[in-house]
Symmetry: C2
Subunit: 115 residues, 2 copies
């Protein structure tokens, strides 16, 4: 009658800036797509969100960080684009590192389950 | 111009049984309220969910566990009630212990943030 079930754990993490949400997996994906495309508009399209929504998220992230994560670049051919700052790169990396560390920690804890 | 923002991290965990959700904070709360009230019906009312929904969750948890977490007790004054089995108690404890350990781990990681 023993079922011998294999248990596993899923999780999500959100980084807050004081009381306000700063980074979740969706915002990190937005930053990564801005980095890849050089454009908030293209990143928004890839994620099937409106430009307005993406712009709002970028504005909030910039406000809720010690340093801006995303900056407009003026001029040049095509009228400039949007870049991820070094602080933005660090924010992306910090989020993924946290996720990876939590994943390993939880995998180890899950092995101890006796359910 | 330094904002000196205080970052913190929130998280959620879900225990899966194979591919199926087994326990999240809502289901654990349901188990705890069944334990306190001796009744799926009263537990459901306290959580503002329908009896049907609570019963469905209990059924799934029992199916997705090696041992039943909740059992009907027949007979006695008032026609019996519902109890949480030792396996149910252990499931509640395992979930809270996991949450507490992850919380401490994340708090420690958050102190290392340099954002």
């Amino acid at each position: 009658m023993v079922k011998n079930i294999k248990y596993n754990v899923s999780f999500r993490v959100w980084i807050y800036s004081g009381e306000n949400k700063f980074l979740g997996i969706g915002r990190v994906e937005l930053l990564e797509r801005i980095k890849a495309t050089g454009s908030i508009s293209n990143a928004a399209k890839e994620m099937k969100m409106s430009y307005r929504q993406a712009w709002q998220m970028v504005t909030e992230m910039n406000q809720r960080s010690n340093y801006p994560l995303v900056e407009k670049q003026l001029g040049g051919k095509g009228g400039g684009g949007t870049i991820i700052t070094p602080a933005g790169i660090k924010a992306i990396e910090t989020f993924h590192e946290l996720e990876n560390k939590v994943r390993l920690f939880i995998e180890n804890e899950t092995e101890k389950f006796n359910l």
